[in-house]
Symmetry: C2
Subunit: 288 residues, 2 copies
């Protein structure tokens, strides 16, 4: 018997692959049945290299899964009004089933206004106010992709949530806030921590489930992980470092996501799955 326990890895990469395979099967069925492939519109403002890479990666994954994508690159001089008009037109376009606005869009853009031009039924990235409220109230709708991926990981690894204390570190509109609401809907007791939290380690020590979503390398120390806790690290910092000190945390946690290969791959899997779901809904093929 070893005195050093080692957590089981929550292998998002593998789960994401299975989800994408299922999604591709469905996309092929939709194409065969209706003559129309699911279509994701990707909107990119400017030429930020990281954003260009992200969009290219997402489109490549779409293509592999039998999802068409329609790319709308806009100059960095695009105004909020122009961007809103472009997105509103995509919302009305019956040939587009899902809309992804790559963000950040730049400081001169009112990003919230741009997001809100996405109609809820095409909000496959889960960024609208409607989608957030739907997640919060357990109503039908699309989820934010990373939170959705985290919930699927928890489900795949049979993590019980009801009555457990989940600590979410981070409170962004598309990650921390919605994942907390999704956990609350599953009857977890949920604590939101953030940069202003006074004694983060003390709160983390109480957590049965830790979701790190803050973007600060190794902010969460292994020694603060409660033995047997479940740790999901949505942080992705330079040098493939998460928000959790992985090496130390894995000696205490029961389940932990690696970085990379944990939460990250789930995000795009949820995006693709929701795009196909949106196409099903809009083409009148609801099966769920």
């Amino acid at each position: 018997m070893s005195t050093t326990r080692t957590a089981q890895l929550m292998e998002g990469a593998g789960l994401a692959r299975r989800i994408i395979e299922e999604t591709a099967t469905k996309a092929a069925e939709i194409s065969r049945f209706t003559g129309t492939a699911p279509c994701l519109a990707t909107v990119l403002v400017g030429e930020d290299p990281a954003s260009v890479t992200y969009v290219r990666m997402k489109r490549a994954r779409c293509a592999k899964a039998g999802i068409q994508s329609r790319h709308i690159p806009l100059p960095s001089t695009t105004t909020t009004v122009e961007l809103v008009d472009t997105i509103a037109a995509l919302s009305r376009d019956p040939g587009v089933h899902g809309i992804l606005l790559q963000h950040p869009c730049g400081p001169h853009i009112d990003e919230r206004a741009a997001f809100e031009a996405i109609s809820p039924e095409k909000d496959v990235d889960g960024v609208t106010m409607h989608s957030f409220a739907a997640m919060s109230f357990a109503l039908p709708g699309f989820v934010s992709c990373t939170p959705g991926g985290i919930m699927q990981l928890l489900d795949a690894y049979d993590v019980e949530l009801a009555g457990k204390h989940a600590v979410v570190v981070g409170r962004s509109a598309i990650l921390g806030k919605p994942v907390g609401m999704l956990l609350l809907a599953k009857d977890a007791t949920v604590t939101y921590c953030h940069s202003r939290t006074t004694d983060l380690p003390a709160i983390v020590r109480e957590a049965d489930i830790v979701v790190a979503a803050v973007g600060r390398p190794r902010l969460i120390r292994g020694e603060d992980i409660k033995p047997g806790a479940v740790v999901l690290d949505a942080g992705y910092n330079p040098g493939n470092v998460g928000d959790v000190d992985f090496d130390a945390a894995r000696t205490r946690a029961r389940l932990i996501t690696p970085v990379p290969g944990g939460v990250g791959p789930m995000t795009i899997a949820v995006l693709l799955a929701q795009t196909v779901q949106a196409a099903e809904n809009q083409l009148g093929l609801q099966e769920r």
Copy 2:
């Protein structure tokens, strides 16, 4: 020096009176300036005695503050479609500035669909998905009235929130969830507890601020209140009993709301203030 401390009372009744006075002054100015009084539409389905009383009380308060109200009583046989149509018509009616749907509406009504027929700019009761997301993302919009009242009490009594641990007991769509989001927006560390929470007393013991919003008489024991904590009791149970054991809690808390006369009166004050604000906005008199 006494060994028994006694908390200062957070007197919602007095604060509400001041807010309503200011609101009445504004309403009178609006009427004088535009010839149009602010108008709240109240919609009531059926004749549940408690609901009838609540609506009558709200209308009486409106009248005293110089706010017109237009009452739309609907038979208990009203369908969701009919209710949605009625509310949608009020949303389009330029003579109506705010809309209040008294709820619960009865089990045969899709209450969410009815709420969503209220246009966000007339959602003075803060019940729509849009208003919830606006509260969550600190965007302009109306707040749910009881959460808004709680935040105004905290402000009036100079309670610092940044970095403090706020424990919200209850997770309803118009009380627990939004008040947690408003506290989070003020940089509190926020924990949502509810009926499935495993060890509520242990969590309450960590709270600098306790918001009780669950409707279970004296669920929160005085002995679990951290010395010096701030306690807001939005519970209102038969016999004028809150969700907190007031007599025991006041010996430990620094500030506490009485029941009645604490949070309760603030709810209607916020409703009236937001109705006048809505009229200002819609009549082109924005001053805030």
